[in-house]
Symmetry: C3
Subunit: 271 residues, 3 copies
């Protein structure tokens, strides 16, 4: 497959990213998270630090009603159980019906059959944003996937698949990696902030999906996915200035998610 060289979108500028962060902090979007037991605490803390309001409503009885009035919904398949799948189906359907933006994070898609089938199934509810690493995006597109949450491929290598996925489902696809790639099927945003240490703290990618759901509650999807990525990776760059290892990095990252101003975001982001 050959891809025409995508033009840089005129709408995703440092100033637009800064403004998205201002919107987030002004409106404190309510983010419903249906996520895994490993990263639930971390995801809540990331959202709180950034300026959103997390709500982990992930049971089948309450998930649908909550998705109607949440600002955004995250569906993450990290540790799926029978009841969680039920809740995720209900939340995705309800979000679609109510027009609530929702993010699908198909953790380990391609590598594990049951959750891959689930992720493909809920695509019918038209996620606003799909977020994953290169292996997961490949796996969701019918490829081989990785060996768990790892990725052995780079975002560049799966850009064709990501664009096709975005066009087919009318959504934004965000692929994490050394250079994050975010596409709506036409335009491609590339963000090259961040550090490899982010892959040695569990849940950084998962919580990025939560941030995208928060931003999607206040700005349009391509900008939302880009602003979330910019905030996370710029905060990571700042955290690296004091971190000694993955423990101090994670703590500093939470600090910097709160301390990073819209102006700093615009100044430091590398588009």
């Amino acid at each position: 497959m050959s891809t025409p060289i995508p033009t840089a979108p005129a709408t995703i500028t440092p100033a637009a990213l800064a403004d998205a962060l201002r919107q987030l902090r002004e409106h404190t979007p309510l983010v419903q998270c249906l996520t895994n037991i490993v990263v639930a605490q971390w995801t809540a803390n990331v959202l709180l630090a950034a300026g959103a309001a997390p709500a982990m409503v992930d049971n089948p009885e309450e998930a649908g009603g909550f998705a109607q009035f949440a600002s955004g919904v995250l569906v993450n398949t990290g540790t799926p159980y029978r009841e969680t799948y039920e809740a995720m189906r209900v939340a995705a359907r309800s979000a679609q019906e109510a027009g609530t933006p929702w993010v699908l994070d198909p953790v380990a898609a391609g590598g594990l059959p049951v959750r891959t089938a689930f992720a493909v199934e809920v695509l019918e509810h038209r996620p606003t944003i799909i977020r994953g690493n290169a292996s997961e995006i490949s796996g969701l597109s019918g490829g081989a996937g990785g060996r768990g949450a790892d990725s052995t491929a780079s975002p560049e290598e799966v850009l064709d698949l990501a664009q096709e996925l975005a066009r087919t489902h009318g959504c934004v696809v965000a692929v994490s990696g050394a250079v994050d790639h975010i596409t709506d099927g036409e335009q491609v945003v590339r963000i090259s902030n961040g550090d490899a240490i982010m892959t040695r703290v569990t849940g950084v990618g998962c919580s990025l999906g939560g941030l995208m759901a928060g931003f999607a509650g206040v700005v349009e999807p391509l900008l939302a996915a880009s602003a979330a990525t910019a905030l996370m990776t710029v905060a990571a760059d700042k955290a690296m200035e004091t971190a000694k290892g993955p423990g101090t990095f994670a703590v500093a990252l939470l600090d910097q998610l709160e301390l990073t101003t819209p102006e700093e975001l615009a100044e430091r982001v590398r588009l």
Copy 2:
């Protein structure tokens, strides 16, 4: 509704709070926690740092037997599943029968119908302490509640409801907020330590419920709820002296829960 101005209880003094902390550390109460997937780790770490022994026994087969010999039990409805509800019912009943003090933390009561009904249902097992923010206390009393774990009201505004709840169920009600209010239906303890950053770290309130269950294993309920609140908020004040953001605050808070001495508690608490 009008409330007579409640008299400050003569029993809740800085010296009494300090002595409660001495009791906690001397007896290392065993605290059974049935809590949510978001804050389970944090709650265990808070209890360990303060000087209690957490045990997360939250399955229906073991929860009842454990509640008979635990020092205190926490029931928190943050992420309830079918099996968790079952375990919580069993634990609450068993705690009541065995005379084990237990704490109900009705997370998001009022805002979410299923868990609100559950929280109202288990009131029949006579919790020793009910802990929540103003919205949750209002929701448990039949009011509207908030939009998740947030609170949009202040403890002062729901003091009447809290006192009525305490009198109706013969328990202590603790309402978290800028000034924490704790009442047994007659007397009201107000504690004005703490900082707004506590609401930007997930689980600080939830873990306070765990601390109350621990203190309730060693001193009487009004003192228990007050001592737990005093310890958490004084430790938070101390943590603020070095914190740069929510990440470093959370870490320093755990340190200070261990480092705060009974003498410091008595000196710094603002009743």
Copy 3:
């Protein structure tokens, strides 16, 4: 019961431990964790910091298939639910059939009847390593156990039981405590690094089980259990140099799990 004084194994030397750590970092073993909701995040972060790749695949539909190609599997009974038990049974059986090394951490065995019965039951799938504190090892052997995750006994006191357990099931038994004892039923490795503060951070022991599963994917079981213990306790010694309390200790421990070199491990370990 009398035990002949066990000879120090000639194979477990500081140089061998250092080499095991080199192997771990070179091969990045994939560690499937079926563990509890309290320590899942911490366990993942410990494995990532040390140099392994965690994958929390703990549902019955995917656990068996994953155990066939994982480098090692951890089964930890901290917060068992019906679906988790199912997944653990499937994973243990599959690991046995595929020859994947697996670690059993029988949290609170002896103290709680249902999980004790489960832990005894899965012994039929021949764990490669059993890891616990003295009470849990005693409980798994039919003794009384402790009051939750605590231990009231010392590893020395249960060494006879540990050796018998190892001989009966053809596995390595690792008993955590002030001096860790690790035995294959014949030889006994004693490691006296570490600090009591490790018991005031939840999940340090649980994550040690995960580390053992990782090392067991790259070296033989007695060396694997010893290297994991040495790495955790030497990193703890280094973390203590800057820690002010349990919060900063936990953060520094993650840093030191990454920063500790094979050479430092060999130099600092006290066999």
